[in-house]
């Protein structure tokens, strides 16, 4: 399908270990004023760009470097904060500062400004599969030569209004929600500047489950697993580490989709981290790369009760 894409940097953090330490001063100045999800993205991306040797925070925008970020909820908290003030005080209380941030590409835009990234600037949402869907789109952009390197991954922030919405039945996560950001620097494998490679993305596929309670539930996830393996040129028997992602209520569906994959190691990072939505898939990939022996194939899943599903196959690098 496409050239394999190298991971030359990674950065991840959860709400608990969040810090601006180590970021360039100009980036910290922007970060302290930003909404929560943007703060998480700036901190994680700063680490990833530094690891890849691309953490330049001044000069003209670099047209061959871009961003593809996945987020389930993006500016949800900002929307709610803006709307609450507007409901309370009417049009005179509507905040231009908050309204300007009621776009789910705000974190991507801030990241572009902070690190002078003038190439593709993309954010997308696919529920709790947003992270792997973003990595898939980024893989297409990099392998077709439309960018030299992309910061790609996902993030979501938590707050009272989002937790209230979840509790009111907005989305069944089956686990406590948590906030996190996890991003990678992706480059074409043959152009990776000789840098240490944490891993190589070999295949990604995204799909959908239109009826999670229906007789064909699981077909969408099974198809993306098959497609990702096929794109990677891998047999299911080659997979050494699988990252499970389904909410407990969809565990059977995931098990059916994985029926042909007899991996010796199955990781459940959400049991420790909680449901991190847009960051879940990228965090799963990090966990898999850390657990796999060098050169081994890993299979990472994203499964959301919204119906969004995705699968990614990667080869663990020497530097993982």
């Amino acid at each position: 399908m496409s050239l394999a894409v190298a991971i030359t940097g990674a950065g991840a953090l959860t709400g608990r270990d969040f810090s601006f330490d180590g970021l360039p001063e100009a980036v910290q100045t922007r970060a302290v004023r930003a909404e929560r999800v943007t703060q998480l993205v700036l901190a994680a991306a700063g680490k990833a760009l530094a690891a890849a040797g691309l953490d330049v925070a001044d000069g003209v925008p670099r047209p061959r470097l871009g961003i593809v970020l996945g987020t389930a909820f993006g500016c949800f908290l900002t929307n709610a904060a803006y709307e609450r003030r507007f409901l309370e005080g009417g049009p005179a209380a509507a905040s231009p500062r908050l309204f300007a941030a009621t776009v789910s590409n705000a974190a991507a835009g801030e990241l572009a400004i902070a690190y002078r990234l003038g190439g593709p600037l993309v954010a997308l949402s696919a529920g709790a599969a947003s992270g792997l869907v973003a990595l898939g789109h980024a893989t297409d952009l990099v392998s077709s030569g439309r960018a030299d390197a992309l910061v790609a991954g996902g993030a979501d922030a938590l707050g009272d209004d989002l937790c209230g919405w979840l509790a009111a039945g907005g989305l069944d996560t089956g686990r406590p929600p948590a906030e996190a950001a996890a991003v990678f620097v992706l480059e074409r494998g043959d152009l990776a500047r000789g840098r240490a490679v944490l891993g190589t993305i070999e295949g990604v596929a995204a799909g959908f489950e239109p009826d999670l309670a229906g007789p064909r539930a699981g077909d969408g996830l099974a198809a993306v697993v098959a497609t990702a393996l096929e794109a990677a040129g891998r047999a299911a028997s080659e997979v050494r580490v699988v990252v499970s992602a389904a909410p407990p209520g969809l565990a059977d569906l995931e098990a059916r989709a994985l029926a042909g994959v007899a991996s010796p190691t199955v990781l459940h990072p959400k049991d420790a981290l909680g449901e991190t939505f847009g960051a879940a898939g990228p965090l799963g990939l990090l966990a898999a790369l850390a657990a796999a022996p060098p050169g081994a194939a890993v299979l990472v899943l994203d499964v959301c009760a919204s119906g969004h599903v995705a699968a990614l196959v990667a080869r663990a690098g020497e530097g993982a």
């Binding site: 709307e83 049009p91 776009v103 572009a112 898939g136 297409d140 596929a205 239109p210 119906g307």
Partner: protein, 388 residues
């Protein structure tokens, strides 16, 4: 991968000019504007309070964007001669941009109106795409591009990428957005709005909001050919680029928009001189239109290509705008007519570098058309379409 190509085989639109692509096209050709005082929800305390509302669809549906998307998709599928249930569901996807999604439901919930879980679930931006994907029974990729006011354009770009990379054979791609108090008060408090949209006019004062849904069937060329379907247009190239300068104000020099245009032309293997129509973002704000004049002139040269904006007619439909404008491009390619820019009377000196279509529709054979969009957070996206 390079052997696969994307074509557009169907279009559907629910716009303030009426239901259907025909109503949109005829209204645009006639230079009509659908802008009027907001009638569908209380707006007496909002200033300005003119907008372009959809009157025929979704009146009782609290997920208004989803209702627009479903109606537009139904027309697009019929236009393409496709029954999605007859396709391999794993090869059918949805890429649907929106900037508001289930915002009416969020407004009601935060105002204390408890809603059933099914309605709560429709609040996030991914809600309308999920609703459309469920109605189609699709099992291919489903995503909601989040590029602010360039979301509809990037939805079509994402669909083209999925089709060309082999991720899907048929993608329902486009955008849907709605008018509500949240967004009207928001743009008002930014002082970005006016009573009339006058793109590129010397007297322009700001944008006027609109609403609607626009869906295109983006299909793999061989898949369309095998079932004997005629392409409405070919989707030759897509591009995206960030300004990396400011979160809300466009780069005055139009460098990000120019980069997105250049990227789309490179992807299309098409030189700027081959382009014979540009659908501009053309919001009617002082900064956007001046920026775009710089960007378009930078890429195509001075007064080298006819330019039009439809936002004077249907308002700024936000996440749907780029999808409406892609349908405009397909219509211009097929009909060899370019609608006038409604609301434009006296071209601003800052926009004199553009060959704007003013007053009446212009008959003009177009072989390659380009659509350009920009949005908050410094995002820009562009499409290159060619006559089938």
């Amino acid at each position: 991968m390079s052997s696969r190509a994307a074509v557009i085989t169907g279009c559907g639109a629910v716009s303030p000019l009426g239901v259907g692509v025909r109503a949109l096209w005829e209204g645009l050709l006639a230079g009509r504007t659908a802008v009027a005082p907001i009638a569908r929800f209380p707006a007496e305390d909002l200033t300005p309070r003119n907008a372009a509302e959809v009157r025929e669809v979704g009146a009782a549906d609290p997920d208004r964007a989803g209702a627009f998307a479903l109606a537009a998709a139904t027309e697009a599928l019929a236009d393409a001669g496709l029954d999605p249930r007859a396709l391999d569901a794993r090869r059918v996807g949805v890429a649907l941009g929106t900037t508001l999604g289930g915002m009416l439901l969020l407004e009601r919930w935060l105002a204390g109106d408890a809603r059933p879980p099914a309605e709560m679930a429709a609040i996030p931006y991914y809600g309308p795409a999920v609703r459309l994907a469920r109605s189609l029974g699709c099992r291919g990729p489903v995503a909601t591009p989040q590029l602010a006011c360039a979301s509809g354009t990037h939805a079509i770009a994402l669909a083209a990428d999925w089709v060309r990379a082999g991720r899907a054979d048929v993608v329902l791609a486009g955008g849907a957005d709605l008018l509500c108090r949240f967004v009207v008060a928001g743009f008002n408090c930014l002082r970005a709005t006016a009573d009339a949209a006058r793109p590129f006019d010397a007297a322009r004062r700001g944008l006027v909001l609109g609403e609607g849904g626009a869906i295109l069937v983006v299909e793999e060329a061989g898949h369309a050919a095998r079932r004997g379907a005629a392409a409405r247009a070919r989707l030759l190239g897509v591009g995206a680029a960030g300004d990396a300068t400011h979160m809300t104000a466009p780069d005055r020099e139009g460098r990000g928009a120019a980069r997105a245009l250049a990227a789309a032309l490179t992807d299309a293997h098409t030189p700027p001189a081959a382009v014979s129509f540009v659908s501009a973002h053309g919001t009617g704000t002082p900064y956007n239109d001046a920026m775009e004049a710089v960007a378009i002139t930078r890429v195509f040269g001075r007064r080298a290509v006819p330019v039009d904006s439809i936002k004077g007619a249907i308002g700024h439909t936000l996440g749907a705008a780029g999808a409406f404008e892609a349908i405009l491009c397909a219509q211009v390619l097929a009909e060899a007519r370019i609608p006038p820019t409604a609301g434009l009377v006296t071209v601003d000196p800052a926009c004199q570098g553009l060959d704007l279509v003013v007053g009446a529709a212009r008959t003009h054979a177009v072989t390659v058309a380009v659509s350009s969009s920009s949005g908050f957070a410094g995002t820009n996206a562009a499409l290159v379409l060619a006559r089938a």
